[in-house]
């Protein structure tokens, strides 16, 4: 009698052990699924950061269809630089200017995708005003961060006398069109805006546009870049593919338009570096 009991007990114990093992596996699975969430960080000093919420909602809506990916917009450069310095298995969407600021201190950070608009991977910023800027004081309406703006102005080809850099006062506004309207309505003496925004302004407000002059032109600026640490490429393939596929779905296209892009393209150098996309 004792032997069958013992067999039953052993069977019951084995069942319990199996059950525990299953639970453990499930728990670990859940934990690892959580751990596998890929974060795509976004920071763009070329534009103001009042749009973080709309970017996050739109991108997450697109990613959640079939991926475990999240967008995390970042407010300031220091936080973004600190995140990159930790070398996480994440993607980083940033301006090309920002990438070049960071690449010297983050050697393995590699650009993989480039933003494209109207078939171009570059744009120019223009300095636009009604008249040459006063050497005494001038207010400049800009939609980018201060360090980016001064760097851009420093390398700009000017149609007027050198800019009174020490006397410039920057008025940060959310968008390029705001900057142009600020000049038209007398809140600023000049605006920094993309060529595309300036062309839009011509269609929008022809009378005011005709009063404006291009005071300076930047060198061609590369559009947004998606960078990663090469050692994390295998883990990030799925996220890179999701970004590349954005132009194929309405939700993805909406996300791209919010960034001012039509699509992402794989950088040619990526293939040379072993990219398998």
């Amino acid at each position: 009698m004792s032997r069958p009991e013992s067999t039953t007990n052993s069977f019951s114990l084995a069942l319990k052990a199996l059950l525990c093992a299953c639970c453990l596996l499930l728990c670990c699975g859940a934990v690892s699924t959580q751990a596998e969430t890929i974060v795509v960080y976004h920071f763009n000093p070329e534009s103001h950061s009042d749009r973080n919420l709309v970017l996050k909602n739109t991108f997450d809506q697109y990613f959640q269809v079939s991926h475990n990916i999240q967008l995390q917009p970042v407010d300031d450069r220091a936080t973004f630089a600190a995140l990159i310095a930790n070398k996480p298995a994440s993607l980083f969407i940033m301006s090309d200017w920002q990438y070049h600021q960071l690449e010297s201190s983050n050697n393995d950070l590699t650009p993989y995708l480039r933003g494209i608009k109207d078939g171009n991977d570059t744009f120019r910023k223009l300095l636009i005003g009604k008249a040459p800027l006063s050497p005494q004081h001038a207010t400049l309406a800009v939609s980018g961060t201060e360090d980016y703006v001064y760097s851009l102005l420093g390398s700009m080809r000017l149609n007027t006398a050198p800019l009174p850099m020490q006397q410039l006062r920057l008025l940060t506004v959310p968008k390029d069109i705001d900057a142009l309207l600020a000049v038209s309505f007398g809140m600023a003496d000049a605006a920094l805006a993309t060529e595309n925004s300036y062309e839009k302004y011509e269609l929008l407000y022809r009378n005011e546009y005709q009063l404006l002059k291009v005071l300076g032109t930047s060198t061609p600026q590369k559009r947004l870049v998606v960078a990663l640490y090469r050692q994390h490429l295998p883990a990030l393939q799925v996220a890179l593919e999701a970004l590349l596929d954005m132009s194929q779905s309405p939700n993805g296209q909406l996300g791209l338009k919010l960034l001012g892009l039509d699509e992402w393209t794989l950088l040619p150098t990526t293939q040379d570096r072993g990219g398998q996309l």
Binding site: L171, P174, K175, I177, D178, L254
Partner: protein, 312 residues
């Protein structure tokens, strides 16, 4: 000798008087430029956001801040602050702050923002401000930017918004837009006016007019009539998105704080060129559901200007 003494005495007197005159004429030369920042209520983002933006932007000034949120005797508090500090400029955010300072009427220049009743203060000497709403011309420009096919914009207005509308008409012409307008009197039935506007317009634009938007029921009615005809409503505050507005353009509060900081800084050298500035920054809310439902032609390039998107 006596004559010489008299001349010398007269010269001394005139030098002494001249010296006195010079001393009184000389402006005070404080070591630092001190700005009193008066916040109507720091618990409300409407006031706190511009204050924070102001504090981040202002350069080369000593700042003294005061929050009147819980203060039941604001004029006494402010008088104490003015007595305790040699203030060269005052930044008031909100009507409580500006009203209290106005009551004390100090000789110090005052810059203000986030004040709905800014028109009351625009003629005050030494008062400079950023208005509460985006300029009508800028609002119209944004409408055109998002919806280039919309040409005729209907506006219901009263005596209250007549002046705003007069300016807006000029701006609309410059933007090649047509404003269809209907004026209503207090207590007048508005349904026929709204129907007439909807008949002749591609969109309805609502203005901050307390006689037109005199009750929730009348406001909802306007939105419902427009919705039945699938005509978009453009608004000046994101609050109207909940009622079914398709697009809203409102002032970016942080930018108003930055504008105020630049106005205060320019006071160190000379008076600002203009007493009043419109907000230079805008927040754009867009309802994509309405865009699809009404089959509107949206310029997708404008989407990179959107701050808030309704798409569920």
């Amino acid at each position: 000798m006596t004559t010489v003494l008299r001349y010398l005495l007269a010269l001394c007197c005139s030098l002494a008087i001249g010296g006195c005159q010079n001393r009184t004429a000389l402006p005070q030369q404080p070591d630092t430029f001190t700005v009193l920042v008066v916040n109507s209520n720091s618990a409300l983002p409407r006031y706190e956001v511009p204050v924070q933006a102001f504090l981040k932007t202002i350069k080369g000034a000593e700042l003294v801040t005061v929050d009147l949120g819980e203060d039941e005797l604001p004029t006494e508090t402010l008088q104490d602050m003015l007595n305790a500090h040699r203030v060269q400029a005052i930044y008031c955010v909100g009507a409580k702050a500006l009203g209290s300072i106005d009551y004390l009427s100090p000789a110090t220049p005052v810059v203000y923002s986030s004040v709905l009743s800014w028109r009351e203060f625009q003629s005050r000497k030494h008062f400079y401000g950023v208005t509460d709403g985006v300029a009508p011309a800028a609002q119209l420009a944004w409408f055109k930017h998002f919806f280039p096919n919309i040409q005729r914009i209907g506006v219901l207005y009263s005596d209250t918004s007549e002046n705003v509308l007069k300016d807006a008409r000029h701006s609309a012409e410059a933007l090649s837009l047509t404003l269809n307008t209907r004026k209503i009197a207090a207590g007048e039935a508005r349904t026929p006016h709204i129907e007439a506007l909807l008949e002749s317009s591609d969109a309805i634009w609502i203005l901050p007019d307390p006689e037109v938007l005199d009750s929730e029921a009348n406001t909802v009615q306007l939105f419902e009539q427009a919705h039945r005809r699938k005509i978009p409503v453009f608004a000046y505050n994101p609050f109207f998105m909940e009622l079914g507005a398709t697009l809203s353009i409102n002032a970016d509060l942080a930018t108003t704080g930055r504008q105020a900081a630049l106005m205060v800084q320019s006071l160190q050298n000379a008076a600002p060129e203009s007493n009043i500035q419109f907000p230079a920054g805008s927040n754009v809310s867009l309802n994509l559901r309405k865009v699809r439902e009404y089959q509107l032609n949206l310029d997708s390039d404008a989407l990179n200007s959107v701050s808030e998107l309704l798409d569920q």
